[in-house]
Symmetry: C2
Subunit: 308 residues, 2 copies
């Protein structure tokens, strides 16, 4: 079978850092064009937007939408209407409801819509899920603290409505949490700290529970300098399970359980190729639902201005 001809839409930091190297490593898919306001890539046809790509570009089978979430629904709708397979960076959209017509359109056309959660492809996730299926959970503590100036330099969209602020990394933790726990959780309390000059939170404290009542606490912070923290600690009846470094490491009572190298984006593209072959979609909105719930139920506080 000839490889899937893919175009990247939105050539920003995540596309350059992760998507392009991952596509190059993946059998069955090749990058054939770029659509981006910010310029193209040496040796590939380049278009400023998805409409000109589709009208004037080389034949393609699929698009990977790496644009900010606020513009992605419209691009996904255009791509699906043109019969293309669609991969969405996370978060999959700016609202939960806007995804529902896209899911329906993909279903009607037997096309693939893949809402990716890259952290779910980190090496700790599958073994953690298997462990928690066998052992009772007593409590979960999530600490997800990073320096926004390092990871999102100059990304104005992240501070706009729909850009999610600190939930842009925090949703990665929620995507892992909702994948490894055996039962659904729901938010019970949230505090969101908004810089006085910004439209998105810079920090959040969240409390979740499940029907059996065990607590899940999460602290997200964009103001971390020095060492960065992306840890999920699960107290179980068989010891403390720790997913460290965003799911790159896994330990039980301090003893390492895995030694696999991190391969999130190569695994994403492997899965995309499989989904296209099977004419299936994979869209789980649970992490975005929890973020919407946090904005809905959250008490807001105002903190000092943030300047990039």
């Amino acid at each position: 079978m000839s490889p899937i001809r893919l175009a990247i839409v939105g050539l920003g930091k995540i596309a350059r850092d992760q998507h392009i190297p991952a596509i190059a490593k993946t059998d069955g898919i090749e990058l054939v064009a770029i659509a981006s306001r910010h310029g193209g890539l040496d040796g590939l046809p380049w278009f400023t937007d998805i409409e000109s790509l589709l009208a004037e570009g080389p034949a393609i089978d699929a698009v990977a939408l790496c644009t900010p979430p606020q513009v992605r629904r419209q691009q996904a709708a255009v791509a699906l209407a043109a019969g293309k397979q669609v991969l969405l960076e996370k978060p999959p959209g700016a609202t939960v409801s806007e995804l529902l017509p896209l899911i329906q359109a993909a279903k009607n056309g037997s096309q693939t819509l893949f809402a990716t959660w890259h952290s779910r492809f980190s090496p700790a996730v599958k073994p953690a899920r298997a462990f928690l299926a066998e052992h009772g959970v007593r409590r979960v503590e999530i600490e997800w603290k990073e320096d926004v100036r390092v990871w999102h330099p100059g990304q104005a969209w992240i501070w706009e409505p729909g850009g999610l602020g600190v939930f842009d990394p925090g949703i990665n933790a929620l995507s892992i949490l909702t994948d490894i726990l055996p039962a659904p959780v729901f938010l019970t309390r949230a505090e969101l700290a908004f810089p006085a000059n910004r439209d998105a939170p810079i920090a959040a404290d969240l409390a979740f529970s499940d029907s059996s009542g065990f607590p899940v606490n999460a602290a997200f912070d964009f103001r971390q300098t020095g060492p960065q923290t992306w840890d999920i600690r699960v107290e179980t009846d068989a010891g403390q399970l720790v997913l460290g470094k965003g799911g790159a490491t896994l330990s039980l009572d301090g003893k390492a359980l895995i030694g696999e190298p991190e391969a999130e984006y190569p695994n994403i593209y492997k899965r995309f190729v499989e989904l296209i072959a099977a004419r299936e979609s994979d869209v789980d909105l649970t992490p975005l639902q929890h973020v919407a719930d946090a904005f809905l139920l959250g008490r807001r506080t105002t903190v000092e201005d943030f300047e990039d």
Copy 2:
């Protein structure tokens, strides 16, 4: 068949104004107890909370939860676990995610969980839905403006996180909108005005669209004095359809289409009795999803303090 023995939980304004008279008018169901912090009703057993009602009260089959949304999930979980049928006032909960385990619990027990949207039982809704199934929609304008001091006097919970502020009435408009339109809509823009001293919005401007692109604009305001406005105007290819007075009236190009009297709550209890007989649930979370999306995507502005 002997009537369903019902207890009201939360004897506030809506229970006294609407539920009690509606239950009295409905065949097949009777009010047998009250659980409420604020006192009971002459001639009926009274308990301060649902736990004591279930432990010490008369035998009951069902509960109607008329408490504020922030405490309702826990009460619904307790009632379902005790094998009772459950009716939820609107909004059905403080988050979308917290409803999912309740839906599952009702399903597992073949019990009825009924998330009511009283405005959907207003006389204009069914004929409007039938009309819009036959005629193209070009544009929708919603104006939902009322005086919070008249309709929610002293209700502190409405200004707390999870109390929804102006979305408490506004969600009624969204429950009608999502019931009469032939295709799903999604939010594209929102502005939410928060009083400086409150944790919930006092006004909101919303824009929605559907996949075909027609606009839906909604203006919600809690600061309306004088005449109150609860109107939905739909421009169609066959004229202007207006649902007035919260769905109590319906007209096409100014000509009245219906003359039925308003009977929202009696219709709610009729439906509850039918659902219980059929061992079915009816939980549509779409209106609450739109509100969560509005908080997620909405740009916040701060307006002057609100004092009750």
